[in-house]
């Protein structure tokens, strides 16, 4: 039981890599459109990743506690 749980937990840590992929691969977001509230996509996409990253860290925090 313990080993399977540890495996599950170690998988959860990999979730932390998502913000790196999302923000370091520029072709994902280097565009003006679609804009939101006057912000070009390039800007609101990166701003959006601030709360998303907090959320991801929180999920891992809860999961591995």
């Amino acid at each position: 039981m313990k080993t399977s749980e540890e495996t599950k937990h170690s998988w959860l840590w990999l979730v932390l890599l998502i913000p790196y992929v999302a923000l370091l691969w520029l072709p994902f977001y280097n565009d003006v459109r679609p804009s939101l509230l006057g912000f070009p996509f390039f800007y609101w996409y990166q701003f959006l990743w601030v709360p998303l990253t907090s959320l991801i860290i929180y999920i891992v925090y809860r999961g591995v506690k």
Partner: protein, 494 residues
Amino acid sequence: MSDLVPIDPVAMTVFIAFFVLVTVVGFFAARWKRGDLTQLHEWGLGGRQFGTVISWFLVGGDFYTAYTVIAVPALVYSVGAYGFFALPYTIIVYPFVFAVMPKLWKVAQAKNHITAADYVHGEYGGKWFPAAVALTGIVATMPYIALQLVGMQVVIKGLGVSGEMPLIVAFVILALYTYTSGLRAPAMIAFVKDIMIYIVVIAAVWLIPSKLGGYAHVFDAADAFFKAKGGATGIILKPTQFTAYASLALGSALAAFMYPHTMTAVLSSSSAATVRKNAIFLPAYTLLLGLIALLGYMAIASGIKVHSASDVVPALFGKLFPSWFVGFAAAAIAISALVPAAIMSIGAANLFTRNLWPLMARDITPEKEAKTAKLVSLIVKFGALLFIVFLPTQYAIDLQLLGGVWILQIFPAIVFSLYTRRLNTPGLFLGWLVGIVLGSGMAIAQGLKPVFALHVGGATYPLYIGLIALVVNIVVAFVVSTVTPRRVQVHQAT
């Protein structure tokens, strides 16, 4: 200097009032959560007792500096989207902090480590490699402190006061309360600083776009401005800038918590869980930083022209805010210089006292240790002051750039050592040396620019030099550690 504005008595009064308030707080902090300040872990780490809320303010106040508030909008004003790399940088730093720093905190707490070099000493023994790690931290931090002074100088100039006198007064006061209160002073001042900066930025991003016709108009104005300007500018990146942008963000994120000031703030937390929780909540400051960066575009949209890009923020506030708020904003930025400058000087002083001083002194008692650290914190700040008063600002900017490359070279010794036993001192030492020499060489060859164009199979990838040097460093560290006996200490050094 020719574009000095006339002194506004209201702005000046508000500015001075807040400065006095912070000074009182700084001296009062010595009594806060009372501890024996003749002990280094009390003076230099605040007794390792700061809970989630205090740590949040402290790390936030420490990591997002006055220089950031001035330099990031200045870069965005000059080149556009490229200057925004600070945003992904300060996002992706937190998963790293969450995964790595609590582990380091636990070891540091268990073995009473006060610095990163203490940790390296604890893992590998010896004194020369820990000394090299300490020296890297001190040298990388000095220009960073100097740049905080630049940030302060810019806002004081924005209030219409020229000359170095106000800067000297501010720094002498800072030096005195840091000396008496240690880390408790910036921890307490960070509350005032962070709340003020939040107020200023929220007011700015709320009010300024409405005066300028909304965000869509701000971005359109910036777009038109960069189209007219040409070159590698624009409100989105050129495809040739992709690797530079991403590698600057990643390299800066990996370097960020290797610096002595951020390390000090993390180690002063009361528990590993405090560090983890703060990785969840600290990104709030990143939202703030992103909004601060947008001030660069607002300056463009409001038609501000400055001789030096670093004047855009004070110029923008001066043009669009009432005078009492100009004073408040200037105070917020100036105080934003004090918090990191204090922690940086404490971090550097801790490194010197723990990891360099033992090379030249014997019979070190805890009292002597704390006394020396206090003195060194004074010397460090005084050095930074002399640097800014007597040398061109560009030197500090260039050195800070090199400092970022250098500090990244202690990454394998700190971070990898938490996860693997396969590294040894010769490997890490040689990797560090190769990284520093290679990184400095590339930066100098590029005319002190952070990016180096790497040619791979006919294509060209501009990459952050610090990151290139780190990769070479890591390869050297592992290869040398594999071919040399394990756990060898460097006795051959004389």
